[in-house]
Symmetry: C2
Subunit: 80 residues, 2 copies
């Protein structure tokens, strides 16, 4: 069973990395980009076929390690 | 116009960060995770309403800055 976890900054939280990317794109002459915010993605392979167990494991992983829930949101998508 | 760019390592490319996360999850007692690979996600706000222009800008951004196409794949999803 495979899953994708996407971790993004909550709105309102400053994103200096995103700002740096905006500046770099402008310097490189890429037009039309108004703003960029960077996040993380985790492609997780689970060794269980049970949907409920997979969801529980992924939630635990996000809450304990993958996301800082004070400033970040996470989203879990389980694929088959 | 908003878009999401997802950059992931090509298969076969070593991912020490993913391996470290696997180890950390095991140490934290999160069961059922077989493997983890980490990637990046960029939420981009574009100041054009034109789909073709947006696609061109995002492709340029990926090729020139956001992805290292030797070792990474990128995927662009445009949302409305």
């Amino acid at each position: 069973m495979r899953a994708r976890v996407t971790v993004t900054l909550k709105s309102g939280v400053l994103d200096p990395q995103g700002k740096a990317i905006e500046g770099a794109l402008r310097s490189l002459g890429v037009e039309g980009v108004a703003s960029v915010r960077q996040g993380k993605v985790f492609d997780v392979e689970l060794d269980t076929g049970d949907q409920a167990r997979a969801e529980a494991a992924l939630k635990a992983a996000c809450e304990r390690l993958l996301a800082n829930t004070v400033i970040e949101n996470y989203r879990v998508e389980i694929a088959s």
